[in-house]
Symmetry: C2
Subunit: 111 residues, 2 copies
DNA sequence: GGCTTATATGAGCAGTCGGTTATGTATCGG
DNA sequence: CCGATACATAACCGACTGCTCATATAAGCC
Protein backbone atom coordinates (compact mmCIF):
# COMPACT_ATOMS: atom_id res chain seq x y z
CA UNK A 1 0.00 0.00 0.00
CA UNK A 2 1.31 3.40 -0.98
CA UNK A 3 2.17 5.70 1.95
CA UNK A 4 -0.35 8.27 0.81
CA UNK A 5 -3.00 5.61 0.75
CA UNK A 6 -2.13 4.64 4.29
CA UNK A 7 -2.31 8.24 5.44
CA UNK A 8 -5.62 8.83 3.68
CA UNK A 9 -7.49 7.48 6.69
CA UNK A 10 -7.97 9.84 9.66
CA UNK A 11 -7.79 7.03 12.20
CA UNK A 12 -4.43 5.95 10.83
CA UNK A 13 -3.14 9.51 10.80
CA UNK A 14 -4.17 9.81 14.43
CA UNK A 15 -2.39 6.57 15.32
CA UNK A 16 0.76 7.86 13.64
CA UNK A 17 0.44 10.97 15.76
CA UNK A 18 0.05 8.90 18.91
CA UNK A 19 2.98 6.65 18.10
CA UNK A 20 5.16 9.64 17.32
CA UNK A 21 5.05 10.51 21.00
CA UNK A 22 6.55 7.16 21.90
CA UNK A 23 5.97 3.42 21.88
CA UNK A 24 2.52 2.21 22.80
CA UNK A 25 0.94 -1.16 23.42
CA UNK A 26 -1.92 -2.05 21.11
CA UNK A 27 -4.35 -1.69 24.00
CA UNK A 28 -3.11 1.80 24.77
CA UNK A 29 -3.70 2.84 21.20
CA UNK A 30 -7.18 1.36 21.40
CA UNK A 31 -7.82 3.25 24.65
CA UNK A 32 -6.82 6.56 23.07
CA UNK A 33 -8.05 6.30 19.51
CA UNK A 34 -11.07 4.07 19.99
CA UNK A 35 -13.20 6.54 21.97
CA UNK A 36 -12.05 9.46 19.82
CA UNK A 37 -13.48 7.88 16.70
CA UNK A 38 -16.08 5.70 18.37
CA UNK A 39 -14.63 2.49 17.00
CA UNK A 40 -14.02 -0.92 18.50
CA UNK A 41 -10.86 -2.81 19.44
CA UNK A 42 -10.85 -4.96 16.30
CA UNK A 43 -11.24 -1.85 14.14
CA UNK A 44 -8.16 -0.26 15.70
CA UNK A 45 -6.29 -3.53 15.51
CA UNK A 46 -6.91 -3.69 11.79
CA UNK A 47 -5.70 -0.16 11.27
CA UNK A 48 -2.56 -1.07 13.18
CA UNK A 49 -2.13 -3.92 10.75
CA UNK A 50 -2.40 -1.59 7.78
CA UNK A 51 0.22 0.64 9.35
CA UNK A 52 2.44 -2.40 9.91
CA UNK A 53 2.01 -3.64 6.34
CA UNK A 54 2.61 -0.15 5.04
CA UNK A 55 5.90 0.02 6.94
CA UNK A 56 4.74 2.77 9.27
CA UNK A 57 4.92 0.67 12.40
CA UNK A 58 7.01 -2.10 13.93
CA UNK A 59 5.78 -4.45 16.59
CA UNK A 60 7.59 -6.05 19.45
CA UNK A 61 6.03 -8.77 21.56
CA UNK A 62 6.25 -8.29 25.31
CA UNK A 63 4.37 -10.97 27.13
CA UNK A 64 0.76 -10.66 26.16
CA UNK A 65 1.31 -7.11 24.92
CA UNK A 66 2.23 -5.99 21.43
CA UNK A 67 4.31 -2.84 21.58
CA UNK A 68 4.02 -0.62 18.51
CA UNK A 69 6.69 1.80 17.48
CA UNK A 70 6.67 4.26 14.61
CA UNK A 71 9.01 3.63 11.69
CA UNK A 72 9.85 6.91 9.97
CA UNK A 73 10.77 5.42 6.61
CA UNK A 74 7.45 5.91 4.78
CA UNK A 75 7.18 9.41 6.17
CA UNK A 76 10.53 10.14 4.62
CA UNK A 77 9.27 8.75 1.33
CA UNK A 78 6.36 11.15 1.46
CA UNK A 79 8.77 13.93 2.24
CA UNK A 80 10.91 12.96 -0.74
CA UNK A 81 7.89 12.99 -3.05
CA UNK A 82 6.87 16.34 -1.70
CA UNK A 83 10.37 17.74 -2.17
CA UNK A 84 9.84 17.69 -5.93
CA UNK A 85 7.15 20.30 -5.52
CA UNK A 86 8.73 22.40 -2.82
CA UNK A 87 10.48 24.48 -5.46
CA UNK A 88 7.16 24.86 -7.20
CA UNK A 89 5.25 26.24 -4.28
CA UNK A 90 8.09 28.48 -3.17
CA UNK A 91 8.05 29.97 -6.65
CA UNK A 92 4.30 30.37 -6.31
CA UNK A 93 4.85 32.13 -2.99
CA UNK A 94 7.31 34.48 -4.63
CA UNK A 95 4.80 35.20 -7.37
CA UNK A 96 2.18 35.93 -4.75
CA UNK A 97 4.55 38.19 -2.87
CA UNK A 98 5.37 39.99 -6.10
CA UNK A 99 1.68 40.33 -6.82
CA UNK A 100 0.99 41.85 -3.41
CA UNK A 101 3.93 44.17 -3.86
CA UNK A 102 2.61 45.25 -7.22
CA UNK A 103 -0.84 45.80 -5.75
CA UNK A 104 0.62 47.92 -2.97
CA UNK A 105 2.43 50.12 -5.43
CA UNK A 106 -0.74 50.41 -7.44
CA UNK A 107 -2.76 51.52 -4.43
CA UNK A 108 -0.08 53.96 -3.33
CA UNK A 109 0.06 55.48 -6.78
CA UNK A 110 -3.68 56.00 -6.77
CA UNK A 111 -3.48 57.56 -3.33
CA UNK B 1 -11.57 15.84 0.84
CA UNK B 2 -8.38 15.63 2.86
CA UNK B 3 -5.18 16.26 0.86
CA UNK B 4 -3.85 12.82 1.73
CA UNK B 5 -7.03 11.29 0.45
CA UNK B 6 -6.65 13.16 -2.81
CA UNK B 7 -3.06 12.01 -3.16
CA UNK B 8 -3.93 8.42 -2.36
CA UNK B 9 -4.80 7.77 -6.00
CA UNK B 10 -1.89 7.12 -8.40
CA UNK B 11 -3.66 8.80 -11.33
CA UNK B 12 -4.13 11.94 -9.29
CA UNK B 13 -0.52 11.93 -8.13
CA UNK B 14 0.54 11.65 -11.75
CA UNK B 15 -1.67 14.55 -12.76
CA UNK B 16 -0.14 16.67 -10.00
CA UNK B 17 3.25 15.76 -11.42
CA UNK B 18 2.18 16.75 -14.92
CA UNK B 19 0.68 20.03 -13.79
CA UNK B 20 3.78 20.86 -11.81
CA UNK B 21 5.64 21.22 -15.09
CA UNK B 22 3.21 23.92 -16.17
CA UNK B 23 -0.37 24.64 -17.13
CA UNK B 24 -2.15 22.09 -19.27
CA UNK B 25 -5.49 21.90 -21.01
CA UNK B 26 -7.75 19.09 -19.87
CA UNK B 27 -7.24 17.35 -23.20
CA UNK B 28 -3.48 17.46 -22.82
CA UNK B 29 -3.72 15.84 -19.43
CA UNK B 30 -5.96 13.18 -20.95
CA UNK B 31 -3.45 12.62 -23.75
CA UNK B 32 -0.60 12.10 -21.28
CA UNK B 33 -2.23 10.32 -18.38
CA UNK B 34 -4.94 8.39 -20.18
CA UNK B 35 -2.66 6.02 -22.10
CA UNK B 36 -0.30 5.64 -19.13
CA UNK B 37 -3.06 4.22 -17.01
CA UNK B 38 -5.26 2.90 -19.76
CA UNK B 39 -8.23 5.02 -18.76
CA UNK B 40 -10.74 7.06 -20.71
CA UNK B 41 -11.33 10.80 -21.06
CA UNK B 42 -14.24 10.85 -18.59
CA UNK B 43 -12.11 9.03 -16.05
CA UNK B 44 -9.37 11.65 -16.26
CA UNK B 45 -11.93 14.43 -16.24
CA UNK B 46 -13.38 13.16 -13.00
CA UNK B 47 -9.94 12.96 -11.39
CA UNK B 48 -9.34 16.54 -12.46
CA UNK B 49 -12.57 17.40 -10.69
CA UNK B 50 -11.38 15.74 -7.50
CA UNK B 51 -8.16 17.73 -7.72
CA UNK B 52 -10.17 20.91 -8.24
CA UNK B 53 -12.48 20.20 -5.33
CA UNK B 54 -9.50 19.30 -3.17
CA UNK B 55 -7.89 22.65 -3.95
CA UNK B 56 -5.00 21.14 -5.86
CA UNK B 57 -5.94 22.67 -9.19
CA UNK B 58 -7.47 25.84 -10.58
CA UNK B 59 -9.18 26.05 -13.93
CA UNK B 60 -9.31 28.85 -16.42
CA UNK B 61 -11.63 28.76 -19.42
CA UNK B 62 -10.02 29.55 -22.76
CA UNK B 63 -12.53 29.11 -25.55
CA UNK B 64 -13.51 25.50 -25.58
CA UNK B 65 -10.46 24.54 -23.55
CA UNK B 66 -10.16 24.31 -19.79
CA UNK B 67 -6.66 25.17 -18.69
CA UNK B 68 -5.59 23.53 -15.42
CA UNK B 69 -2.94 24.94 -13.17
CA UNK B 70 -1.54 23.50 -9.97
CA UNK B 71 -2.33 25.24 -6.71
CA UNK B 72 0.39 24.55 -4.14
CA UNK B 73 -1.71 25.19 -1.07
CA UNK B 74 -2.72 21.60 -0.23
CA UNK B 75 0.83 20.45 -0.85
CA UNK B 76 1.96 22.96 1.71
CA UNK B 77 -0.61 21.59 4.12
CA UNK B 78 0.83 18.14 3.67
CA UNK B 79 4.26 19.56 4.23
CA UNK B 80 3.09 21.22 7.41
CA UNK B 81 1.63 17.96 8.70
CA UNK B 82 4.82 16.17 7.87
CA UNK B 83 6.90 18.80 9.61
CA UNK B 84 5.61 17.54 12.96
CA UNK B 85 7.40 14.28 12.32
CA UNK B 86 10.52 15.61 10.70
CA UNK B 87 12.12 15.94 14.11
CA UNK B 88 11.07 12.41 14.86
CA UNK B 89 12.70 10.79 11.86
CA UNK B 90 15.82 12.89 12.13
CA UNK B 91 16.14 11.62 15.67
CA UNK B 92 15.62 8.10 14.34
CA UNK B 93 18.35 8.73 11.80
CA UNK B 94 20.68 9.86 14.55
CA UNK B 95 19.88 6.73 16.51
CA UNK B 96 20.65 4.65 13.45
CA UNK B 97 23.91 6.51 12.91
CA UNK B 98 24.82 5.96 16.54
CA UNK B 99 23.95 2.31 16.17
CA UNK B 100 26.20 1.93 13.14
CA UNK B 101 28.95 3.81 14.94
CA UNK B 102 28.62 1.48 17.91
CA UNK B 103 28.68 -1.53 15.61
CA UNK B 104 31.82 -0.25 13.94
CA UNK B 105 33.60 0.17 17.25
CA UNK B 106 32.44 -3.30 18.23
CA UNK B 107 33.84 -4.84 15.08
CA UNK B 108 37.06 -2.88 15.39
CA UNK B 109 37.46 -3.99 18.98
CA UNK B 110 37.01 -7.62 17.99
CA UNK B 111 39.57 -7.13 15.18
C1' DG C 1 -27.57 27.12 -38.50
C1' DG C 2 -25.20 22.67 -38.42
C1' DC C 3 -20.98 19.78 -37.83
C1' DT C 4 -16.97 19.15 -35.12
C1' DT C 5 -14.08 19.56 -31.12
C1' DA C 6 -13.31 19.94 -26.09
C1' DT C 7 -14.85 18.87 -21.81
C1' DA C 8 -18.03 17.66 -18.14
C1' DT C 9 -21.67 14.87 -16.22
C1' DG C 10 -25.12 10.88 -15.48
C1' DA C 11 -26.17 6.07 -14.81
C1' DG C 12 -24.72 1.79 -13.70
C1' DC C 13 -21.58 -1.59 -11.88
C1' DA C 14 -17.55 -4.25 -9.77
C1' DG C 15 -14.22 -3.97 -6.38
C1' DT C 16 -12.37 -2.21 -2.18
C1' DC C 17 -12.56 -0.27 2.56
C1' DG C 18 -13.68 0.07 7.05
C1' DG C 19 -16.90 -1.03 10.38
C1' DT C 20 -19.29 -4.77 13.45
C1' DT C 21 -19.87 -9.16 16.10
C1' DA C 22 -18.00 -13.52 17.09
C1' DT C 23 -14.11 -16.22 17.79
C1' DG C 24 -9.19 -17.82 17.89
C1' DT C 25 -4.49 -17.72 20.11
C1' DA C 26 -1.21 -16.67 23.53
C1' DT C 27 0.30 -15.26 27.97
C1' DC C 28 -0.39 -14.16 32.87
C1' DG C 29 -1.78 -15.22 37.60
C1' DG C 30 -3.50 -18.04 41.22
C1' DC D 1 -4.41 -26.39 34.85
C1' DC D 2 -7.93 -22.58 34.30
C1' DG D 3 -10.06 -18.33 34.06
C1' DA D 4 -8.96 -13.71 32.77
C1' DT D 5 -6.54 -10.53 29.81
C1' DA D 6 -4.49 -8.75 25.42
C1' DC D 7 -4.63 -8.92 20.89
C1' DA D 8 -5.51 -10.65 16.22
C1' DT D 9 -8.39 -12.67 12.74
C1' DA D 10 -12.77 -14.39 10.31
C1' DA D 11 -17.08 -13.57 8.28
C1' DC D 12 -20.20 -10.50 6.86
C1' DC D 13 -22.09 -6.09 5.20
C1' DG D 14 -23.07 -1.30 3.71
C1' DA D 15 -20.84 2.70 1.80
C1' DC D 16 -17.77 4.59 -1.20
C1' DT D 17 -14.50 4.70 -5.37
C1' DG D 18 -13.29 4.70 -9.83
C1' DC D 19 -14.15 2.74 -14.06
C1' DT D 20 -17.17 2.27 -18.31
C1' DC D 21 -20.40 3.97 -22.03
C1' DA D 22 -23.65 7.30 -23.26
C1' DT D 23 -24.95 11.90 -23.31
C1' DA D 24 -25.12 16.95 -22.27
C1' DT D 25 -23.06 21.53 -22.94
C1' DA D 26 -20.70 24.94 -25.17
C1' DA D 27 -17.36 27.05 -28.31
C1' DG D 28 -15.11 26.97 -33.07
C1' DC D 29 -15.60 26.84 -37.91
C1' DC D 30 -17.63 26.99 -42.43
Amino acid sequence: MHPFEVLADPVRRRIVEVLASGERASGEVVAIVGPEFGISQPAVSRQLRVLRDGGFARVRVAGQRRIYRLDPEPLREVDAWLAHYRGFWERAMDDLAAEIERGDRERRRRG
